[in-house]
Subunit: 213 residues, 4 copies
Amino acid sequence: MVAQTHLSIAPQGDDDSAKRHQIMDGARRVFMDLGFDGASMNEIARAAGVSKGTLYVYFADKNRLFEAIVERESLDHGKKAFNFDPALDAETSLRAFGRAYLEIVCRPDGGSAVRTVMAIAERMPDVGRRFYDRVIAHTMRLLAAYLTARVEAGELAIDNCELAAAQYMRMCQATLFEPYVFQAKPAPSKEQIAIVVDSAARLFLAGYRAPKS
Amino acid sequence: MVAQTHLSIAPQGDDDSAKRHQIMDGARRVFMDLGFDGASMNEIARAAGVSKGTLYVYFADKNRLFEAIVERESLDHGKKAFNFDPALDAETSLRAFGRAYLEIVCRPDGGSAVRTVMAIAERMPDVGRRFYDRVIAHTMRLLAAYLTARVEAGELAIDNCELAAAQYMRMCQATLFEPYVFQAKPAPSKEQIAIVVDSAARLFLAGYRAPKS
Amino acid sequence: MVAQTHLSIAPQGDDDSAKRHQIMDGARRVFMDLGFDGASMNEIARAAGVSKGTLYVYFADKNRLFEAIVERESLDHGKKAFNFDPALDAETSLRAFGRAYLEIVCRPDGGSAVRTVMAIAERMPDVGRRFYDRVIAHTMRLLAAYLTARVEAGELAIDNCELAAAQYMRMCQATLFEPYVFQAKPAPSKEQIAIVVDSAARLFLAGYRAPKS
Amino acid sequence: MVAQTHLSIAPQGDDDSAKRHQIMDGARRVFMDLGFDGASMNEIARAAGVSKGTLYVYFADKNRLFEAIVERESLDHGKKAFNFDPALDAETSLRAFGRAYLEIVCRPDGGSAVRTVMAIAERMPDVGRRFYDRVIAHTMRLLAAYLTARVEAGELAIDNCELAAAQYMRMCQATLFEPYVFQAKPAPSKEQIAIVVDSAARLFLAGYRAPKS
DNA sequence: CATGAATGAGCATTCATTCAT
DNA sequence: TATGAATGAATGCTCATTCAT
């Protein structure tokens, strides 16, 4: 029923097993919708279209399944290439980055991942830490690297590019992310995002643009 | 702090019953440490130093107990008066506010509340919404009001004070809150807070200070 | 232990205490409506208008309270004097008895008592046995005594008056009591009772009337 | 009665699963002995020789398990074919029916079913009503049909055969069923049953036998 | 004597996990 | 390997009973 693109029958331990992917896809939905505790292995099995027993063939227990999903999620996010075209000026690049970033973070499942991982961080600190590092800090480092390049190019004047990157990323979320994640408002529209990101870029550059020499 | 107008020993239904407080104090710890689902009523009873049955004398069920705690937490936060001394200049005031704000948000239990409520927001949207409104949006409105006053005083030039308030609050948390809440780093020291807040204030004013006339 | 025959304010152990009656009245309602297990001491206390603690001043535990109620109920039933006027003929007397009997047994609470006691009979055999003896067998003996008198008077010809009494009582309930007690039909009207009782009396006398000498 | 078209070993949802039967058999005992409220799922699991969890694989909850048992009990009773041989005279048939009927109703578990269902009838009216209809009324209709045939054959003279059937059935239980169900006397012996049934048949026919033409 | 807050054993129910097939 | 029936510990919650006031 499921297309089996490679020849081997995907035994346990093979991280690329189609079954393994299938399970993770189903489990992801359930975990993100219901949270770690709210998700039952029964529900996950149903969502994944496999039997409960099969879950335990591929994953030692619920924790490990969850960790694997967060891990994959993290890596997927990490692969997300933000396009910092050096040919464009900083303002244009920052706006493009801000829009792309916000759309990820506020897309129907983006908030859920943050919420779900944050919720479990106290009980599973490793999971929290790695998610932070691979998703949030990773993006921050990407932006920081771009800023550093712009500083070196003489376009920007920033002493702490990591901090500046974090400041920009956080400003982009102002008035949008928190109400969304606390269920006080629905996910923001593209227009709302544009307004907030533009304002963030303006404020950012007002402080960090290199003075005309 | 709460006026206690009658002398009687707080029977059931009295929101100021000492037992009720005792339960909420114990339950708060357990909920914040373990999350809503991770906290068992047994554990809560033990932490509160009462029997399981007593829990149900004061709270109809686990949800209601949780809601009561978040409610109280929200109100406590809401009462937090940030001191915007009009005699001081904006930079000093913003720095003082930023420090006070960060210390609340990153104090050992501050992050837990945010985390715990955020985690349950999907299943208990009312709880999430009210927490957002009473804690986060409330503080934002306080700061926005201050900014508006400074704009009217000609010290600042801001077209959207609510957005600016959110931008400032979010910048103050840059590099501090997220690693803390995801358990990637411990709660920041006063020194770390000072550095980040000062940078935020500088960037904020670089963009929003009224041009010298 | 000390005989407390007169004026005092009804301390514990005095079976005629007003409080005791008050409790029994409230408890009766709850027990009969909800059954032994369905009735909670809380509900009983509320229905009786006393505190839960007071219940235990007058009754050692729930079982004893229930037993006391069934006991009183039994005695009340037992006191019910069916009027066997010797001046009337057997048919008239039997019809009058049948109507009176059915109205007791099918009155809104009559069935409940039977049901409630029957339900608990396996777990509290003494209660069941005494209820049977004081209510059902007692009435049967009353009727049997009447029949014996009529036999001796030459009006009836019955060899086993106890059995005959039981036969008559049971026939009077035919098509009425069982649907009522199983909730298949509402309590019967006086008209329905009349029809069934008259039929029972006719059948009874067809078999047991003494042949004209 | 139910067509069993497949051979498989009765998975969940199959009403004829062996496990399902095993559970119902164990649960029946516990319910009948202890009543609905007195029976705990723990006890039922032990009596059925399965784990508590397994109970919930086959039955959604305690109510449904109970209902299933009463339903099965009802159908079993309903299947009981009383043999009304048209070749025999009415007296013989009535005696045979009476004996068979009494032995069902007073067999060690017969009274328990009546008692248990009656006890819950107030809280589960559907269960009570269906039990009445399928067990008591069903038998009554069977007997009534027989009586009608005898009336048409000119052997009996009865104007209301349903009532007559109920009268006969109830008379057969006189002095036997009530003491038994109230735990005042043990289940009657065959001899005791014979005496009471014969008396009932005599009385019944004295009133309802068609006059010799 | 009367109270009602407090208790904790007991309940029905769920669910992560195992294992015979 | 894949299954899903079976498990039993753990959960939220109730309630008969106690006892300090």
